[in-house]
């Protein structure tokens, strides 16, 4: 017998993987739209640190002169993005899953410790159940950012019909900038997320597909029975404070 921990409910896995291509289409079509008027940059005085975006970047991705196409895709897939997001938020709060997700007052301290641990400046990882403090903050922020993208999106999509919304967000131009910044946020999140998933290893990744992970046997009193299989090698993503060690191949459990 193997002891498994049911980590991700089926619904969450669907929402997660549906969001992946849908958000990709929204970001890509958003880039096609943004190209037609691309004034944003980060600069100090005359010195431009980052320009959104250099010509070479557009050329490389074949972005120029595709505004109509971008708008068409954006205004079609926005419905899927909103529907999937709405179902995700609804499910998270109705199922009680939010208790694994919403940060509490300890999460911020924990997030600092996790970051120090990730940077190799701390020996142990603080204990956690499903997500550590940094994950809670990141994943909950992403949920809020999704809401923000929908609101800023509507503020620039229908600024006359929803003029109150556009006004709350600081006006049409401000709402467009906010919509853009949120998108940059997703892209940064994506790279960090994929990096962290790679670091966490196969066990963790496959649980987003299968829903479960194998637990390791550490003899914790509230976990399992004493007559289980011999302990497998601990892996860094499990819910115990352990030192990092190689991840076992879950397809060939020890």
């Amino acid at each position: 017998m193997k002891r498994i921990v049911h980590k991700h409910p089926l619904a969450i896995r669907w929402f997660h993987w549906i969001n992946f291509p849908v958000l990709f289409v929204m970001i890509w079509s958003g880039l096609l739209i943004y190209w037609a008027y691309d004034p944003y940059k980060i600069s100090f005085g005359d010195y431009t640190l980052v320009s959104f975006f250099p010509d070479g970047f557009y050329k490389f991705l074949n972005v120029p002169f595709r505004l109509a196409e971008g708008m068409a895709w954006h205004w079609v897939f926005m419905w899927l993005f909103m529907l999937n997001g709405l179902l995700y938020i609804g499910y998270t709060f109705l199922s009680g899953e939010w208790r694994h997700l919403v940060p509490d007052r300890n999460s911020f301290r924990e997030a600092i410790d996790v970051t120090l641990y990730d940077l190799g400046l701390r020996k142990t990882q603080p204990p956690f159940i499903k997500y550590n403090g940094a994950q809670k903050i990141a994943y909950f922020s992403i949920m809020l950012m999704g809401v923000g993208s929908v609101l800023t999106g509507f503020a620039i999509y229908k600024p006359a019909q929803f003029s109150w919304l556009t006004a709350i967000l600081g006006g049409y131009e401000a709402a467009r900038l906010e919509h853009f910044i949120l998108t940059i946020g997703y892209v940064l999140f994506f790279f960090i997320h994929v990096g962290q998933v790679i670091r966490a290893g196969w066990q963790n990744f496959q649980s987003m597909v299968t829903g479960f992970e194998f637990t390791k046997n550490t003899g914790t009193p509230d976990r399992g029975t004493p007559d289980r299989d011999p302990p497998v090698t601990p892996d860094p993503v499990n819910n115990q404070p352990v030192a990092p060690s190689p991840t076992p191949n879950p397809l060939l459990p020890a």
Binding site: I4, P21, Y37, R223
Partner: protein, 266 residues
């Protein structure tokens, strides 16, 4: 313990073979499901174009327009600004329809279901009550600018000349069926043309404009008479109106033919 405390994750014991089977099943389904977005992409990009946009996308854009019409209201006004905030030199963008000289004998031609077209002079337009608006003009490219325009309300104009109805009476909100669904406009050389849904045309902020910053509109901005329709992107704000007509069919539209949404309502 309070309800707020994060619960432990549920655990269970399963035979190793069961766990392995579940993994194989999950990953097989995952691989199959991954084919769906690829299929959707292929389906859309290989669909024929309908009016410049891929058919599935065009159908949804049209559905979006139908939905937008349900919450469109004449009481939803675009925000207005103090006149000092208006750009001194409003941006000009696009010369389609303006590439030939303005005809010397310009008159606004209006096709009617019955009888000969109406030909209206600038003086006749100006005889109607003048309205001014300072609002944020929004280009479909993404930029916007506060601009100051003056002219007559299109709704006043249509009421005065009894336009836009099948009966030939002045438009009456009580009998919406009598109204045509669309207004079509084009430049004298037919180089630029737009179609506008009747609700947006009748919006109180929609103007037949002849002044910009208190002066007659300059040629590149659409002299002598242009459309200013704040509830639409700039592409619908046709310059140098030559002909106006009414129809239940969607009039042809310059940018919609090039793949843009037809409605582009704000």
């Amino acid at each position: 313990m309070s309800q707020l405390k994060e619960p432990n994750l549920p655990e269970s014991d399963v035979p190793e073979s069961t766990a392995r089977r579940r993994m194989i099943t999950s990953f097989s389904l995952f691989a199959l499901a991954a084919a769906i977005p690829v299929g959707v992409y292929e389906w859309i990009t290989n669909s024929p174009k309908l009016y410049g946009a891929r058919k599935p996308l065009r159908r949804v854009l049209d559905a979006n327009a139908a939905l937008a019409k349900t919450y469109f209201s004449n009481t939803h006004l675009v925000a207005t600004f103090p006149v000092e905030e208006a750009a001194k030199k409003p941006r000009q963008n696009g010369y389609d329809g303006l590439k030939t000289p303005l005809p010397e004998d310009w008159k606004l031609q209006i096709d009617r279901p019955q009888g000969a077209p109406l030909l209206i002079t600038m003086d006749e337009v100006k005889a109607l009550p003048k309205h001014e608006i300072v609002y944020e003009f929004k280009c479909i490219e993404g930029w916007s600018q506060v601009q100051h325009w003056g002219g007559v309300r299109l709704s006043d104009f249509m009421a005065n000349y009894k336009l836009g109805t099948k009966s030939g009476n002045a438009p009456n909100p009580e009998s919406a069926d009598d109204l045509y669904s669309y207004v079509g406009m084009e430049t004298p050389d037919k180089g630029y043309y737009v179609g506008i849904d009747m609700e947006s045309a009748m919006h109180p902020q929609t103007l037949l404009a002849y002044e910009m910053n208190g002066q007659p509109i300059s040629a590149p901005h659409g002299a002598p008479l242009r459309l200013i329709i704040p509830v639409k992107y700039g592409v619908k704000n046709l310059k140098r109106i030559g002909r106006m007509f009414f129809s239940d069919e969607r009039p042809r539209d310059f940018w919609a033919e090039r793949g843009y949404d037809y409605y582009v309502g704000l």
